[in-house]
Amino acid sequence: MSKTVTKSDESLDPVQMAVMANRLDGIVREMSNTLLRAGRSAVISSARDFSCSIATAGNELLSSAEGLPGHIFGTQLMTKSMCELHDDLAEGDAFLHNDPYLGNTHPADHGFLVPVFFEGTHLFTVCAKAHQADIGNSIPTTYFVGARDVYEEGSLIFPCVRIQRGYETIEDIVRMCQARIRVPEQWHGDFLAGIGSARIGERRLVEFCQTYGKDLVQQFVKEWLDYSERCMVHEIRQLPAAKLHNTGAHDPFDPVLPDGVPLSIAIDIDPDAGKIDVDLTDNPDSLPCGLNLSEASATSGVLNGIFNCLNSGIPHNSGSFRPVELHFRENCAIGAPRFPHSCSVSTTNIADRLVNMTQSAFAALGDGYGVAEGGCGLGVGMAVVSGEDPRRDGRYVNRLMATTNGGPAASKADGWVTFAIPVIAGLMYRDSVEIDELKYPIHIKTMRLVPGSGGAGRHRGAPNQEVIYGPRFAELTAVIPCDGQVYPAKGVLGGHDGSLGASYHLDAEGRATKLPNITRVTLKPNEWLRGLDTSGAGYGDPLDRDPEQVLHDVLERWETEDRAHNVYGVVLTRHTDGTFSIDETGTVTRRAELRSNG
């Protein structure tokens, strides 16, 4: 049964377009499923730190389904470098790309690009991009904050290098990786999963073209991007005209950045023109460490923050990006660092602050707009751990996803509990205690949410978590690139800030030593790491929170009785049978009292 669709000179009807767009999202989901199920390292197969997408041959991002915004919003920059560097693209090619100076996010993200041909024409490029457990850095981490430059960072860099020709793998490249990347068999499994994912995308796109024919597909691509642009313009037109300015900061990193990294953003919303202009030029010069933001990371951070403030349901592709104009400055840490500065930690720390700064700026438009800041920082529970596993007679290395920061509150809901960090926004999975203990020789003692820790507000931020773990048999090295231990997530419109994170070393006698936010630590058996994440910030005045919700929070241990009384001004009566009820009059009085205290 073949479809009978004829190309017309008129535009596609809305039905046809929806059908074809859904089909592309389906292809991206199938690519993602492949990578998740076939991947080897926990960071890919458990935590889902990867994304798949489809770009056009003209290098516009077309479809990305549930990909991480941080990964996919720059795909078009990567495919562009593929086209510019290779004038001999052919069916059967595949490229490995992890160069942050050529459109990639950071070196730890290995992107697998496959140009898709139909009837001899290059029509699409599929991209499967995954955060690797290790990339051969000079120390065992994929987030090297201390790297003075790319040389100290030490990653193998692939500036869009051909790894398959005529569907055959170029084994030289594979051997280079195996000679340098820690636990090479784990990397090789992830490599195969990445290639498998891109090839499945290719196969399905060819079928897509066979169904609809080349002309119709090309017409669809153009119109789908135009449609996406219309959706975005429509949303921008709903906003008030405004010039917003906001600031933020990354924590200090001693001794390189004793005051941290001050950040600022200027957003000009022009609803009449249906445009948003974002200026990021007033930010520090390239930093002498791994915190610089590549163009891809800075672009995604801002777009991510903007989409967080708009109605959901807008397709996220180059069409909907059109009405947003970004300004970067050459040799600036945000979006245009100068080579050879390192972008090792480009996707998280400052990128998270950028998402926060953007989305909270919109709150200045008034109640109902914007989002508070989300908890950030890769703490103890998200460290890269490595060492020897005597159970397997081998080494291990992996990024844990054993805990998460709290999500930000917004105008309609409390923060999302399994938020992780702003660039992840709850999309990734969490590790299972049993899987982590099976795969790596660690013992996890505790993993629990901390009551009363979420930033208070009419809607409150999600709480932080506590995690304690340590090695079972031999030494364990943990590299922790944390943020959020000095500057908290900020509340908006009267909402309170989130709580700060902290990392501790517990010795065999149980004595705790506080660790620096960014650190590398080696533990012996019977020694432990204890981590507290950051919580999300609140939205609106906590004295306006519905007392029924406060009661529920106390009953369900999200909040404490003490904070209900002193922060939310809700007076609860505890009955003899252990139940609570709200003292309505007491609450009115208490809230008035707290308001007058200011």
């Binding site: 809305p14 199920r37 299972s432």
Partner: protein, 701 residues
Amino acid sequence: MSYRITVDTGGTFTDVVVSDGSGRFFVGKALTTPERSFDGIRSALAVAAEEMRTHVGSILADTELLIFGTTRATNAIVTRSTAKTAFLTTEGFPDILVLKEGGKFDAHDFSIPYPEPYIARRHTYEIPERIDAEGGVVAPLDRDRTRTTLRDVAKEGFQAIAVCLIWSIANPEHELALGGLIEEELGEMPYTLSHQLIPILREYRRASTTAIDASLKPLMRGYLNQMESDLRTAGFKGELLVSTSVGGCMHVAEISERPIHTVKSGPAMAPVAGRIYAETENVGANLIVCDSGGTTFDVGLVRDNRLVKTRDTWLGRQWVGDLISMSTVDVRSVGAGGGSIAWVDAGGLLRVGPNSAGSIPGPACYGRGGTEPTVTDAAIVLEYFDPEFFVGGRMPIDADAAASAIQGLARRIDKSPEDTAFGILTIANELMIRAIQEITISEGIDPRESTIIAGGGAAGLNILPIAQELGCNRVLLPETASALSACGMQFAQIIKEESANLVTRSDTFDSEGVARTLVRLRATLDEFRTPMAQAKDQDIAISFSAEARYEFQVWDLEIPIPGEALSGSVDVETLVEEFHRAHERVFAVRDTSSVVEFLNWKARLTIDLPRNLPLSRDIASTSLPPSSRRNAYFGSGNWIDTPIFRGQELPAGSRIEGPAVIEIPTTTIVVSPGMTAEITATGNFLLQDRPDATELQDIAV
């Protein structure tokens, strides 16, 4: 005369199918009576009895076997009306049910609240103990503190207890001891131990499944006892079985111990029915079984004549709902059905669902105050449904209301009402196509090599264009399509599955350990089969499978273990090759350099029950003219003069060429232009797009 009765008690309707042993099947439908299910069953039986020219009492008295399926458990979970249940878990990990496994659909949507855990945080108790990954005791169970906790539990008025301790699958000592303490301190309190119910890795999956099971125990025990006693009082003397989510059935006593097996057991039966119809009609061993109702479209698979299973069944939405990780028939649902609402988004695109008009107010054409255009309204506008013959003429239809609802939408997208209506169907189809693709293509299965079996009240409306889009050239719509699940039970087997966790690798394969595990699994199943009254040896089969993965992977593929494994020698080479093959099929790559890890071992006992197969009719040599004609719309820009047939009047062997509409009391089949419907010898409808011209019988059109 000896009858077999099968019952599917749904949320709205109770379906009953009675077979009389001579190959005849009688379907009865009545409204479900939640307060006492037997009342609804009796009403539905009365409908069937009328057709059989007898009455309920004599059917029940002459019934040898009654298989009963219920959505009682599913509904209790959805409405959160299960027992007040305490969750007991390892100290340090109180938030297992809150944190789940993470994941979210839309990164940019901050308007959705985080879901409440299945068991409230204040009903969670931490137990002082800890086992490690190899089963070693890190911290012994503190019995005194545990007793104190259990006394607190007693004071709080809990009705059930769920126990899931970290690594209980590696060493069940602490869970067993805790079970003993519960019995000592709390007497008859129902409880579930995770390692006994579901010995799988990953604490959230095990805990969630255990919590759901425990919370159903008080309710389902009462419910099943009531049902049995009502049936006995009404004169039923035969064997009573309950259908389960693995597509089989179990005894009432067994189900009372593990009520979670009844959750989603209804949809699981549709593929069972599909498999039997496919066998009868000889349409192949690879099937896509679709069940389309008012609000959802359910899809299940049969592959190589076996039901496809999953360990990821979400109640509610993926990631944010509650997970059942028992192996169950894999049935995916999308929110696309007759009641799905069509709308236009901000960018001017036509969308359908996921919001549904439900049964109240229902589609505009129900005339109960609904004004939003739905899929059913679109079908009315296209003249696919005869307003006089909707649900066999038992339901009045307001065609004008449907027309004006569609008209409003048509103006907004600047199209004719019929093109808009046709567009709504096309988009609804697309959602269904995606559901089918997800379960087929993403698992490496090509829908073009499958036959579609279509069931459910809305089955005939759009199954043909869906099949066409998927490249499937054969669709079977059973005569009893509207009661597909109850029909499935007519052919159910008794199925019992057991699994055990034993981790071993291809390079250091623990042959002895594996052999011991398989022998133990077999012994457990042998114990179960002894009390089965109807089973004869030749009807009993036991099969084994393993869940395996490459080293460092964390998701498993299930591979069959060849029969000779039972003799004690498991050939690791064969298992490894099976695994490579499965991996390449699903993920496009194989890695022969990698070690393969084996984790779970499964055994499955199936007992065939004697079946009453559908009766063949004589092929008629005559053909019937259409009962009427009307103009219908098939998207070409023109209304087409279309013949309408009454399905029940058509003799076996008739072939009807599209465009045509075939009306049967419980569904309407739309035969699009270029397609053909054939009435088979057993009265089912076989729909194809390439009619073999030489076999064509002339139907007067």
